[in-house]
């Protein structure tokens, strides 16, 4: 199981801040986002910052069972 955390506009557009994903692991971040989009079709497209267990990750990074993945868009407000 992978715990996914969504921030900012990703959370508001999908109505989801946090979800558990039961998918086959290991999986890349890119693969995980594809799976996530199947469950949350309103997930916006774009370039986001990813973190696995609070460490910055790239689209190619590998996610393992039990990991927490955060997906963060930039904010512009000041």
């Amino acid at each position: 199981m992978i715990r996914v955390l969504l921030f900012g506009v990703l959370a508001t557009k999908t109505g989801t801040k946090e979800m558990s994903l039961e998918i086959e692991t290991p999986v890349t971040i890119e693969g995980l986002i594809e799976e996530l989009r199947k469950r949350l079709p309103s997930l916006p497209e774009g370039e986001f910052l990813f973190a696995i267990n609070e460490e910055q990750a790239s689209k190619e990074s590998i996610v393992h069972d039990g990991d927490t993945v955060a997906v963060m868009p930039p904010f512009s407000g000041g």
């Binding site: 921030f7 910052l49 609070e54 910055q56 963060m72 930039p74 904010f75 512009s76 000041g78």
Partner: protein, 273 residues
């Protein structure tokens, strides 16, 4: 250290701290900080920097105080509606602490003027309200080798980090290489923002700036702080320099300042920095 008696009294609660002391207070009085945007984040940041006795503060903001700003932009006040924000902020600071010299830039920072402005300061604090300015400030701070204390917000959430790519830590582009496509990330006007959230993030920016001046503690460089006010949840994500970063990476393709278009005009007048 050459303090007046009034200064010794005014800064006594700082001077008594071993981590600050007379020497640290002197560093604060000698410091020059540029605050980009006298809005939600800039307001509380400026007030604490001024109260701390940061000797020279630059305020860059080309907007005027609007009634809708006052829900969070606490450096301004009702009688100041319609006056330029940089001047309104200057007035508040002068009343708070006459030790502080305030330099106002009552204009929008551009590719043409920003590097020269930044060069006159030691540290840059970004509280701007739009992506073109955020990228411009990041790039200019990188080219001028100035630490950038960056804060931003959306509804009930905030992000905060310190970028020092010239010292080996990431820059803003290592996290977010390019501005998002127009319309993806709504502005404060479009999405709303909790007023007090601006206080949380703006004050944390002041804290990081003061630590940077004093060189104490562990700064947020290399870490991104994410705050969710609804959950009262602070998270820190370790972020790293991207060797492929177009600005600060090994083979940079950005060698001079670039201008991004405002994604929509609404956004500009929105959160009003």
């Amino acid at each position: 250290m050459d303090f007046t008696e009034e200064q010794i009294e005014r800064y006594s609660r700082h001077i008594i701290l071993p981590e600050v002391g007379g020497r640290g207070q002197r560093k604060l009085l000698d410091a020059r900080v540029l605050v980009v945007g006298a809005g939600g984040l800039g307001s509380p940041a400026l007030m604490y920097l001024a109260a701390a006795g940061v000797g020279t503060v630059g305020i860059a903001d080309g907007d005027r105080v609007d009634l809708s700003n006052l829900q969070r932009q606490i450096i301004h006040s009702t009688p100041r509606v319609g006056t330029p924000k940089a001047l309104s902020a200057k007035k508040t600071i002068e009343e708070l602490n006459p030790d502080v010299e305030v330099i106002t830039y009552n204009e929008r920072l551009t590719r043409e003027n920003i590097r020269e402005v930044i060069r006159g300061f030691h540290i840059v604090l970004d509280g701007s309200d739009n992506f073109p300015t955020r990228f411009l400030v990041n790039d200019a701070a990188f080219f001028e080798h100035r630490p950038l204390v960056s804060g931003s917000m959306f509804r009930f959430e905030g992000q905060l980090s310190v970028f020092k790519p010239h010292e080996g830590s990431p820059c803003y582009r290592c996290l977010y290489p390019e501005p998002p496509p127009p319309g993806l990330v709504p502005s404060c006007q479009e999405a709303g923002v909790l007023g007090a959230l601006a206080g949380v993030i703006g004050v944390l920016q002041a804290v990081e700036t003061i630590k940077e001046i004093l060189r104490i503690g562990e700064g947020l460089s290399g870490r991104l702080l994410i705050f969710d006010a609804l959950r009262m949840d602070f998270r820190k994500v370790r972020v790293r320099k991207d060797p492929g970063c177009r600005l600060c990476g090994k083979e940079p393709s950005i060698k001079e300042l670039v201008t991004y278009e405002e994604s929509c005009e609404l956004q500009r007048s929105s959160c009003e920095t």
